[in-house]
């Protein structure tokens, strides 16, 4: 398993995936720093507002929420690129066969691919998120409430996307799987936004749709929960505005979310392994 994971990681390095992603991330970081600087400069005029609005927290949570959306999206794209062709795609190009005729079980092969994709995608998300936290703190002097809690949830969301892409790779060709996973990703985020609207209106139907989607696709709920963890202590007008905005997490998923996300990844991987061991290559 470790051997397959190391091979996949080396492939990422040698094919300059990391170099390209790193270069674009530095560019993203520079733009983010500029944006944060301008935003905090603009909201500094709101200090002492009689409405009780904490402008700095609102600005910090909003721009950091935006960075989290961006980093999870890029991390998910990385996960999809690294796993979309892991089984059917690689079998069609003839890359898979020389490996799995060796004394390497198909289960261990899949576990190795998942490990590599998780390390790369979750690692990238963590790197981008921490970079954004650091820039926000240094520029705007605002720090989120629970950096580690958000980090775990956001990185976990990337791992869930990796597991979904790996499962899809057993049944679909690389291109079809890539498209399918990115569409599922978009649908999940859309369901989350509907949930936000459902909370604001309030609408039980929208809340129910969002609840079902968040358990069926836990990456979305992890992302929402990561946003919620940013500003757990923001109350009053500030808390309400943040939570009702598109980059706020108004819904507390409860203590079962993290265990369910872990179980989800394990179940998706076991299902992929079960289907792969029965598949003709």
């Amino acid at each position: 398993m470790i051997l397959v994971a190391r091979h996949a990681l080396r492939e990422s390095l040698r094919r300059r995936i990391f170099a390209v992603v790193l270069a674009l991330s530095v560019l993203f970081g520079a733009l983010y720093a500029f944006g944060a600087h301008e935003l905090f400069k603009d909201v500094s005029g709101f200090a002492g507002d009689s409405s009780g609005l904490d402008a700095k927290t609102l600005a910090g949570a909003t721009i950091l929420g935006l960075a989290m959306f961006g980093s999870l999206f890029l991390g998910s794209v990385l996960a999809v690129f690294l796993t979309a062709g892991a089984v059917r795609g690689d079998a069609e190009t003839g890359t898979l066969q020389p490996l799995i005729v060796r004394p390497l079980s198909r289960r261990r092969y899949l576990a190795g691919r998942l490990l590599a994709a998780s390390v790369v995608s979750a690692g990238y998300v963590a790197f981008a998120y921490l970079g954004a936290v650091l820039l926000t703190g240094l520029i705007g002097h605002w720090w989120p409430d629970n950096v580690v809690g958000s980090l775990i949830r956001l990185s976990g969301a990337a791992v869930v996307v990796s597991a979904l892409a790996l499962l899809g790779s057993v049944f679909l060709t690389a291109t079809a799987n890539g498209i399918a996973v990115l569409m599922v990703y978009g649908a999940g985020l859309l369901a989350g936004l509907l949930g936000e609207i459902g909370d604001a209106v309030p609408s039980h139907s929208l809340q129910r749709i969002a609840d079902i989607a968040s358990w069926a696709l836990p990456f979305e709920q992890l992302y929402r929960d990561a946003l919620r963890e940013l500003v757990g202590s923001a109350h009053g007008v500030t808390g309400a505005i943040i939570q009702l905005g598109p980059l706020g997490g108004s819904h507390d998923a409860g203590p079962l979310l993290l265990p369910w996300a872990v179980a989800y990844v394990v179940l998706a991987t076991l299902l992929a392994a079960w289907a792969f061991t029965r598949r003709d290559v």
Binding site: L3, V101, D280
Partner: protein, 277 residues
């Protein structure tokens, strides 16, 4: 009786309504070099893939050195070169072999890699990246990869399909070398001359069934005697080698001058076309 290196028993494979293999049975003994012939769609690749565990049989059994095909024990003793394969373009030839050494559990290190690259004519190409290699060089590297870990059974699916005549010669020499090392080989190919010259035994598969099985010499049969006379060449159809002295005596007795006598045999190609027609 020693355990066959590859044993195939009543093997059936169905893809939906299509029956790719219809009760195929044969054994391959240790050290045998067997050529598997057959037209496109005969089931050769399916049979090879079942033997190495890539495809699951619908019925019947395949064992490799006594272990069920596809089991870890079976995969430990075989080497496989797929008809369609690709190594990562970013790897060097040496790195491909390192990866396969680790997967196969081979501890022979750089010495084995050097020897295998020499054996397939890539001795000086160890540091070369796969994506800069020609198709023929990649096919040779594929052969070297299949030999990593000194397998007891080598399954080669069209190993010369991308090779030029020199490359084919290298493969023929390699098969000869493997024979001296006692490696059992199942060679799936369309090149009848290759099989005729290198294999101990030939299996001809047609529409999922074995239609001929024997040594190349056994599969061909006497076709007649050709005699060169002063007035031209005469062919005695159906005559065998044993008939040659009598035919020559009769011709000489009849006043003919005999310059040469040749025993004619059908070629493997003729036999092949006969059984798959």
């Amino acid at each position: 009786m020693p355990t066959p290196t590859l044993s195939v028993s009543a093997l059936v494979k169905r893809y939906g309504a299509t029956e790719a293999l219809r009760g195929v049975s044969f054994d391959i003994a240790e050290g045998e070099l067997v050529g598997l012939l057959g037209p496109n769609g005969a089931g050769k690749s399916t049979l090879t893939k079942i033997a190495c565990g890539l495809v699951h049989p619908s019925a019947g059994a395949v064992t490799v050195a006594g272990a069920p095909a596809g089991s870890e024990a079976a995969r430990r003793v075989l080497g496989y070169l797929a008809e369609l394969f690709r190594f990562p373009g970013w790897c060097t030839a040496d790195e491909v072999l390192v990866l396969h050494q680790r997967l196969a559990g081979s501890e022979k290190g750089a010495g084995e890699r050097r020897e295998l690259l020499e054996l397939v004519g890539l001795g000086s190409e160890g540091a070369r990246r796969v994506d800069t290699m020609s198709k023929g060089m990649q096919q040779r590297l594929g052969l070297a990869q299949a030999l990593v870990g000194s397998p007891r059974l080598l399954l080669l699916d069209e190993p010369t399909s991308a090779l030029d005549p020199a490359g084919r010669r290298t493969v023929r020499d390699l098969l000869g070398e493997l024979r001296t090392r006692g490696v059992t080989v199942l060679l799936n190919t369309h090149l009848l001359s290759e099989v005729e010259h290198t294999c101990d035994r030939v299996l001809i598969l047609d529409r999922g069934a074995i239609v001929a099985d024997g040594a190349p010499g056994e599969l061909t049969r006497p076709r007649g005697i050709e005699v060169e006379l002063a007035g031209g060449t005469r062919v005695f159809e159906g005559a065998s080698r044993e008939d040659a002295p009598r035919i020559v005596a009769e011709l000489v007795g009849a006043g003919e001058q005999v310059f040469a006598v040749r025993v004619l045999r059908s070629t493997l190609e003729e036999r092949y076309l006969e059984v798959v027609a």
